[in-house]
């Protein structure tokens, strides 16, 4: 497939990444956004679309989801491209000094400027703090169930108390030889129907429900053979297991960007507040993912950073052109 070529590759399609398209568009720069999530909006769409936000200038109150909708409307004249559901993996320089960003699915993007607006990073499974957990990854420990058939006639231990732990425990009773569900307390936060179903399967001995407990140890020789479970009052329970599936939701991780050669400080990218440039010329970092003295992780600060960054990006792309700041009140919006 032909690489996607644009003026600015924006890593992350949250509010800050989206607004970058607008400010770049005013300078006639084209943008293409890449995000691991399947839709635009970042945290606002994924985590709290129904939460009101009170500190967007000019909006006394706006729902996070509405803010994203408005931003999409605002940038529509500038026809941004999107690569969604794919994670940026590698960055390299092309022969003519541009950047090439390649995703986990091999989609190639080429541009003279990269703006990292990655927010908190990519959402990845939360891993329980079990000392030898990594020894058994893909050798009996899986964080995501891709194909239930994989568990046919196996002994499976699922841990967690949310919908995915409940739903998969229910489903796996159809294929696995034994299903155990381990949870920290006796109440479950999943959908009431799922909770009821799990209780019913537990009373029919189809699910081995172990509450007030957590998995604290794994054993095996090359492949998982058993788990150790700590019960709050009954002490340690040992259990044979072919598979252990901890389902504790997702948490944001910086991900492959951490290996792009950027100066990283406490999971954030260090930038120069003159133009939010990183230590690599042509790569900028804006919004929650960057850090500098006095940094505030606010959407409105991200908008400001995006605006200044675009000025610098323009000068980098067109070093010989004199730039004139255009006020939208005078000229309106001229799209592409």
């Amino acid at each position: 497939m032909k690489p996607i070529e644009t003026d600015i590759i924006i890593v992350g399609a949250g509010p800050c990444g989206l607004f970058t398209v607008f400010e770049a568009g005013l300078l006639k720069l084209k943008c293409h956004l890449i995000d691991y999530l399947p839709q635009a909006g970042g945290q606002l769409t994924e985590i709290y679309p129904k939460k009101p936000i009170y500190d967007i200038p000019g909006f006394p109150e706006i729902l996070a989801g509405e803010l994203v909708e408005n931003l999409m409307k605002q940038i529509a004249p500038f026809k941004p491209g999107f690569t969604l559901g794919e994670r940026c993996e590698t960055i390299s320089k092309t022969e003519d000094g541009k950047f090439k960003v390649v995703t986990n699915r091999g989609t190639e993007h080429i541009a003279p400027v990269v703006a990292i607006a990655g927010g908190l990073g990519c959402f990845e499974p939360r891993k329980p703090p079990i000392a030898n957990l990594s020894d058994f990854e893909d050798k009996g420990v899986e964080y995501i169930i891709k194909d239930p058939e994989f568990y046919r006639n196996k002994k499976v231990v699922v841990a967690g108390g949310g919908d995915s732990a409940l739903d998969w425990s229910i489903f796996l009773t159809n294929v696995a030889s034994e299903v155990s569900l381990i949870h920290r307390r006796t109440e479950f936060r999943g959908a009431p129907d799922s909770v009821e179903k799990v209780m019913e399967l537990a009373s029919n001995k189809k699910i081995n429900l172990i509450t007030n407990s957590e998995v604290i140890g794994l054993s095996g020789n090359g492949h998982l053979k058993g788990v150790e479970i700590k019960h709050q009052t009954d002490g340690i329970i040992s259990k044979e297991a072919d598979h252990f599936v901890p389902l504790f939701g997702l948490s944001p991780k910086l991900g492959p960007i951490a290996d792009w050669g950027l100066n990283i400080n406490k999971n954030s990218i260090e930038v120069n507040t003159f133009d939010y440039s990183t230590n690599i010329e042509g790569i900028y970092a804006i919004g929650d993912i960057n850090t500098y003295p006095g940094k505030l992780k606010l959407i409105l600060c991200g908008f400001h950073e995006a605006t200044l960054m675009c000025q610098s990006a323009f000068k980098r792309i067109y070093p010989d052109k004199n730039f004139v700041l255009k006020y939208t009140t005078v000229n309106g919006i001229q799209g592409f």
Partner: protein, 107 residues
């Protein structure tokens, strides 16, 4: 300005004695950040990340957790009977003498 005394024990076991304002709608997560204690507060205080997970070590009976907080603690690790999310504890005058310990960081 109304102040209470709060002790926060960091992950190295060091005690930090802090005067905390009770009249500016501040929570424990924000207090930690304001005092440069290693609390990320990733989600901004919405009980959605557990990076402000702590243990209540004084005798204050503040264990009525909201569903959102319980749900988040279900996804956290090192959870004990006295676990709370700092962002869900609003600093108030009746918390005078509050002592809490930061929970270990988890991945």
């Amino acid at each position: 300005m109304s102040l209470i005394n709060v002790t926060i024990i960091d992950r190295e076991g060091v005690e930090h004695k802090i005067e905390a304002p009770t009249d500016i709608n501040m929570n424990v997560m924000e207090l930690c950040k304001a005092n440069d204690l290693p609390v990320e507060g990733t989600c901004g205080g919405m009980a959605m990340c557990a990076s402000c997970h702590c243990y209540i070590e004084s005798s204050h009976d503040i264990f009525s957790r909201s569903d959102a907080e319980e749900d988040m603690l279900d996804q956290a690790f090192f959870v004990e009977q006295n676990s709370r999310l700092g962002c869900q504890i609003k600093l108030a005058d009746d918390l005078e003498g509050l002592t809490l310990r930061l929970a270990p960081e988890s991945n």
